[in-house]
Subunit: 175 residues, 2 copies
């Protein structure tokens, strides 16, 4: 089954970025042309019923599946970036990380009121970044029709942060 | 002509990131589903004759066109990242910026010896980042069959940094 092959191409790297953490390394999956294309199409199949007009994603890794999905879904792409990176008029949101705080921004003209937006990322961990990004896009008037992930780390309960949204993930792992 | 439409969707933002600089803002282009898809396909047409097996790109903005092009070309995707972001065994290169220095990394198993690699980015400015990334991929044994950009800022002479490579860009601007 192809979902199994996609899952098998995600590499566990122990003790990154710090001791005790098992990092989900998607680079072997990205490198396999057929598996990458299949993962994008399977994610697109989850998003099509939501009839989005654009795909939004947070830098940096989010841009990989976000841009590929936008292309596959024939949607526009909205980059959400770290503070100070976007050149035009922006709207910002700060959120808590395990250590400290992060701020992300989106262009104020990135989404039109009522526009159907799917938010995409590779990994759902604690959900803090996705929650902040979805909030920003909503503040612009966008309708978040779904939040879609390649891989959900179920044991981190990220869905709890995203209860207001329709969350889906291609793969899930309990460890 | 569609290249004109693509060019018209790139917005000039004055005095970003600092006074006197005119920043080329591609977000309006990305947001237009048809123009984004067309730009990706036109870039893909430039890359297909090079018969790449993978597309490499440097974070963050490079990931947008890089991932989309990998999908369009049915290639694998190789992310080149800033120092400390890639979890597995890496190879690093430092290069000079206008102020200070930057370091980028790639996974040591990202490219196989002899593999045909196209390096992609949205904007060719001074060429320093592309030169460093191409050097890294070569050090792994990859053959850089081309370096392809959406937009070349011709007045910055970035091609001079990339004389060893076949450089192409969909659009060029002299100002």
């Amino acid at each position: 089954m192809s979902k199994d092959k996609i899952a098998a191409a995600i590499r566990d790297v122990r003790d990154f970025p710090c001791p005790g953490i098992v990092y989900k390394d998607i680079t072997p999956l990205l490198k396999d042309a057929a598996l990458f294309a299949e993962a994008v199409e399977l994610m697109a199949e989850m998003c099509r019923p939501l009839r989005p007009s654009c795909v939004a994603a947070v830098e940096s890794r989010g841009f990989i599946f976000g841009a590929a999905l936008a292309l596959q879904l024939q949607c526009g792409f909205v980059p959400v970036r770290k503070k100070g990176k976007l050149p035009y008029h922006t709207l910002a949101a700060s959120y808590e990380l395990e250590y400290g705080e992060a701020t992300i921004e989106v262009h104020r003209d990135a989404v039109q009121p009522g526009e159907r937006v799917v938010l995409v990322d590779d990994v759902l961990a604690t959900g803090g970044t996705a929650r902040a990004a979805a909030g920003l896009l909503r503040e612009l008037g966008g309708e978040i029709v779904g939040v879609n992930f390649l891989l959900e780390l179920s044991f981190l309960n990220g869905r709890e942060q995203l209860q207001e949204y329709r969350v889906s993930s291609l793969l899930a792992t309990g460890n």
